[in-house]
């Protein structure tokens, strides 16, 4: 598996898209710091970008890579290599190279700017950690879709739809149910609902770290109380890990049975 991981990682590191992605984040980081002149403000703006773009790019890149490397995959399948290691290797290759672009692209300008002397370092770290988790989650979801659908158009459409659902529609439904059931106590519900969606969960985890959390008022206090405890931190990390593990397990399951 490690060998295949290495191949797909090298393959990707030669690909133009990784560099585009890397330079995009580099540019974003530099511009933000240049315009804002304030680390914690830059972190807030970055959060907005990360919770939208990282999942989108993870999804598209994952699907694209899978469909593009299909011939190579078929060649590999003919070799005496285990199926699970082929697909997991490819998956890890994509996810790791995406995460590396993110970390390097954002990290470099921030480090040059003087991140280590700043108090915002933990905000920034939590930003990167959620970014990495989101990359892993959405690449895995994309691989799932690509494995299930031979038809590229269908696969792409579904992947975009999935992103749209988790990034936008989910919040809409969430809001609708909050408004509809406003006569009931909703703190527990909103806690659970925001934990189920990885994008919402990372947004809340970052928000709670920032000053802006005081805006959240009573509901925010409930959230802070929960996420501040060991149980809350454990559960939220657990949920994120689960979001990675379940799709990865499904990749393994489908790829073992699929007829190529």
């Amino acid at each position: 598996m490690l060998k295949i991981l290495k191949y797909s990682f090298y393959d990707l590191s030669r690909s133009l898209w990784s560099y585009v992605y890397f330079f995009f984040y580099l540019l974003l980081g530099v511009v933000l710091l240049f315009l804002n002149n304030d680390l914690s403000n830059a972190v807030i703006t970055l959060m907005n970008v990360i919770i939208v773009l990282v999942p989108l790019i993870g999804t598209i890149f994952g699907v694209m890579y899978f469909y593009n490397s299909r011939e190579f995959t078929e060649l590999l399948l003919a070799q005496p290599v285990r199926r699970s290691s082929i697909f997991l290797g490819q998956y890890l290759g994509v996810a790791i190279s995406l995460s590396a672009s993110l970390i390097l692209g954002l990290g470099l300008p921030f480090i040059i700017y003087g991140l280590f002397q700043s108090g915002a370092i933990w905000d920034f770290v939590s930003l990167l950690v959620s970014g990495v988790f989101l990359s892993f989650i959405f690449t895995a979801l994309a691989f799932n879709i690509a494995l299930s659908y031979e038809n590229k158009i269908k696969g792409f459409g579904l992947a975009i739809l999935l992103w749209l659902f988790l990034a936008v529609v989910y919040d809409g439904l969430f809001l609708l149910s909050l408004v509809y059931f406003q006569d009931y106590p909703l703190d527990k519900f909103s806690l659970v609902a925001s934990m189920l969606n990885p994008i919402d969960l990372s947004r809340i985890l970052i928000l709670l770290k920032l000053d802006i959390s005081a805006l959240l008022g009573y509901t925010g206090a409930v959230f802070k109380q929960f996420f501040g405890t060991g149980l809350g931190a454990f559960t939220s990390i657990g949920v994120l890990i689960l979001w990675v593990l379940l799709p990865v397990w499904r990749i393994k399951y489908i790829s073992a049975k699929k007829d190529f």
């Binding site: 807030i44 959060m47 907005n48 919770i51 939208v52 990034a167 936008v168 529609v169 989910y170 919040d171 809409g172 969430f174 809001l175 909050l178 408004v179 406003q182 909703l186 703190d187 519900f189 909103s190 925001s194 994008i199 919402d200 947004r203 809340i204 928000l207 000053d211 802006i212 005081a214 805006l215 959240l216 008022g217 009573y218 509901t219 925010g220 206090a221 959230f223």
Partner: protein, 412 residues
């Protein structure tokens, strides 16, 4: 002969009119302040030399004297009660350092207690580790100037206020610093008074607190990092000019809390980095003119029963929510403000945007109805929603608009 008579007259005159000066120090004839006060007659000057005086409950009753500390003498009340309590007319206290005032749940011990007094001056004193700092009851025509009051308040129930004024008139509180108490400056039933150029910082509850006080002015003050900056309650005819409300940040924190206020004016104030810059509840006929709201969570939050409030020529800069609004418009007006969120155009180049601005975003409207919805803060869906509402408003109150939003920031 003539010369001799003149001399006699001069000596006589000087004995009668010239005030006596009493010196207090460890090696002087008079060793305690209380003893000096007991000796003194109207018009005398008590000069307290530097040193530590372990005295408490020094009381000055019906004596018009001035107490002047030289070289910052320290009165250590040893946590045993009020340091200096005064009931007199025409007196002054200057240049003392008062520390360790006793704490109590039943009586209000203070550094300097002034009751039933008139025409006095408390100047350039330093108070440290006090329960109440300067406490005025039924006083009038007093000046509290240049004092520095600090303490280490931990909880609201075991701490007092820096400058506490009750049932008084025509008091001037100027150039003081109040740091680390419960309320910085507290006024209850205080009329025709002025609070000018003070700094209130790190206080547990409010920087400045008005209750039932009318016809007062506060200007040029800085309120920073208090539980809440200023609370003005049940008062009318209050002028609030040129103050700075900064960093009053926390889940239940305000820059300025207005409750049951009538006929007042806010002009040229700066609100920066507050969770809620102004929370207005039951306020009538208030003018908000030329204020700056920058980087606040909410710039203005309007609760119920707010009538005839007028927002004109204010700068709303980069607040998470500019206005949050409950209830009907109730004849409140927004006009000629600058909004950093305004994206309209100005074809005729007269400096006024051609499209009205809607300061209440759909999200702030929703949050008002369902407070839990705030967890969706900064999510993509909400941004989309706000954008579409801006383009074609459906939910937000249709007449709540600034129909003459300015294109450029107002300089004042």
């Amino acid at each position: 002969m003539c010369r001799f008579f003149l001399f006699i007259i001069f000596v006589f005159a000087s004995v009668v009119s010239r005030a006596q000066e009493i010196e207090v120090c460890k090696t002087c004839e008079v060793k305690t302040i209380q003893a000096a006060v007991d000796m003194a007659r109207d018009g005398d000057i008590l000069k307290i030399k530097s040193g530590i005086y372990k005295e408490h409950d020094i009381s000055i009753i019906d004596k018009s004297i001035s107490i002047i500390g030289e070289g910052l003498p320290v009165i250590d009340a040893q946590m045993k009660g009020t340091a200096l309590s005064i009931r007199a007319e025409n007196f002054s206290v200057e240049g003392l350092k008062i520390i360790n005032v006793g704490r109590s749940h039943t009586s209000d011990f203070a550094g300097i207690l002034v009751s039933n007094s008139k025409n006095f001056e408390l100047k350039n004193n330093r108070l440290d580790k006090v329960f109440f700092g300067i406490l005025l009851e039924r006083a009038s025509e007093g000046i509290i100037l240049g004092n520095k009051i600090t303490s280490n308040a931990k909880s609201q129930s075991t701490s007092g206020n820096g400058v506490h004024i009750w049932k008084s008139e025509k008091i001037t509180v100027k150039n003081n610093q109040v740091i680390g108490l419960r309320d910085g400056i507290y006024l209850e039933f205080v009329n025709n008074s002025e609070v000018i150029d003070n700094l209130c910082k790190d206080n547990l509850r409010y920087g400045l607190h008005f209750m039932f006080s009318d016809h007062d002015l506060y200007k040029g003050n800085v309120f920073e990092n208090n539980g809440a900056g200023v609370a003005v309650m049940y008062s009318k005819f209050i002028d609030m000019h040129n103050n700075k409300f900064r960093k009053n940040w926390g889940s239940a924190s305000y820059g300025l809390l207005l409750k049951e206020i009538n006929d007042s004016e806010l002009r040229n104030n700066i609100f920066e980095d507050n969770t809620i810059a102004i929370s207005a509840d039951n306020t009538n006929r208030i003018n908000y003119i030329e204020n700056n709201f920058r980087n606040n969570g909410y710039a203005v939050r309007i609760r119920g029963a707010v009538y005839d409030n007028n927002f004109q020529r204010n700068n709303f800069l980069y607040n998470s929510f500019d206005i949050a609004y409950t209830g009907k418009l109730n004849n409140n007006k927004f006009s000629n403000n600058y909004w950093s969120g305004y994206s309209g155009y100005d074809l005729d180049k007269n400096g006024i945007g051609d499209v009205p601005f809607r300061p209440v975003s759909l999200f702030s409207y929703l949050v008002n109805k369902t407070p839990e919805a705030i967890v969706l803060l900064r999510s993509t869906f909400i941004d989309l929603l706000d954008f579409s509402e801006k383009v074609s408003p459906i939910f937000t109150p249709a007449n709540l608009i600034d129909d003459q939003p300015l294109m450029k920031r107002i300089q004042w």
